[in-house]
């Protein structure tokens, strides 16, 4: 009987350790990711990405290309335990909301970076897809992660490029570049 009690204590202790590790490291990684997202989004402000198919100035783009960005994310152990508890009573699961919001922002940032790497100025007709990846463990019932994909049509627009660049990034370019 004493042996069983001992095992029980070890079980509980290891779960608590996992929760603490998940919370501490998960929180730190989340904060770092959010800071990084803020920085990258500010950098990419001059690149409009819109869900419409038509924007002013894009009637005759010089070049077009399919651009995309994707990310697979998962939530940490602490949040998984919390969300399991919430699911008993139902309600809003903040843990998943936060991680999905992060993933969507990251996918959009990557899509814009893809467009920038190809020398394009804007992304039109942007679409977002979210899908769950079944884990190979726990007979496929578990979730290995959630994938968010952002894709759209990158266009290069000499006209738009000049105006947004001169406004937000480099005012000096206005004189330097012929129209």
């Amino acid at each position: 009987m004493e042996d069983q009690g001992y095992e029980f204590v070890i079980d509980i202790a290891s779960t608590i350790i996992l929760i603490v590790v998940g919370y501490v490291i998960g929180k730190r990684r989340e904060m770092r990711h959010l800071r990084e997202l803020d920085r990258k989004e500010a950098e990419l402000l001059s690149m409009p990405a819109v869900p419409m198919a038509h924007i002013a100035g894009a009637e005759r783009p010089e070049r077009i290309a399919l651009v995309e960005g994707s990310v697979v994310v998962s939530i940490d152990y602490f949040k998984r335990v919390i969300s399991a508890l919430v699911q008993i009573f139902g309600g809003r699961i903040d843990a998943y909301e936060v991680v999905l919001r992060r993933a969507r922002r990251e996918a959009l940032v990557r899509m814009k970076e893809d467009a920038r790497a190809r020398g394009l100025d804007a992304v039109i007709c942007v679409r977002l897809e979210t899908s769950r990846l079944a884990s190979s463990g726990s007979r496929g019932k578990g979730t290995a992660g959630v994938e968010v994909l952002a894709f759209g049509t990158g266009v290069s627009l000499p006209g738009i490029h000049q105006s947004t660049v001169s406004q937000s990034v480099a005012p000096g370019l206005e004189q330097g570049q012929p129209a």
């Binding site: 996992l18 590790v21 998940g22 490291i25 998960g26 990684r29 989340e30 990711h33 198919a53 038509h54 894009a58 009637e59 005759r60 783009p61 077009i64 290309a65 399919l66 995309e68 994707s70 990310v71 697979v72 994310v73 998962s74 939530i75 940490d76 152990y77 949040k79 991680v99 990251e106 039109i124 007709c125 942007v126 679409r127 897809e129 899908s131 769950r132 990846l133 079944a134 884990s135 190979s136 463990g137 007979r139 496929g140 290995a144 992660g145 994938e147 994909l149 894709f151 759209g152 049509t153 266009v155």
Partner: protein, 104 residues
């Protein structure tokens, strides 16, 4: 080959329709990546191995779709959409489809 998510290609005119073209790719993760991912699952955040794997298979799906369009004589695919679905445990299908057209 022009690829777009828009219904038409701005500045050009569609002269011929070839209909729906699609490409897909089903891939499973290998065990090493799976183990790494399950460790990452503890602390949350991005699972880089899976992101790369899915991006690779999406490229494969895309190039299969492009192949199909090329063989029909199209020079552009418009209205491209992607789908991802878990078809079995540990395997995902990446699917790309669009409308093959000829533009001038």
């Amino acid at each position: 080959m022009y690829l777009t998510t828009t219904e038409s290609i701005p500045g050009t005119q569609v002269t011929e329709f070839y209909g729906l073209v699609s490409g897909s790719s089903v891939r499973a993760k290998h065990v090493g990546r799976d183990i790494m991912a399950s460790l990452k699952n503890l602390v949350g955040g991005e699972l880089v191995g899976y992101t790369e794997l899915l991006a690779e298979s999406r490229q494969e799906a895309l190039s299969r779709m492009i192949e199909q369009a090329t063989s029909q004589g199209a020079n552009a695919i418009v209205n491209i959409r992607f789908g991802t679905s878990s078809v079995a445990q540990g395997a995902a299908e990446l699917f790309a489809y669009g409308t093959a057209v000829k533009v001038e």
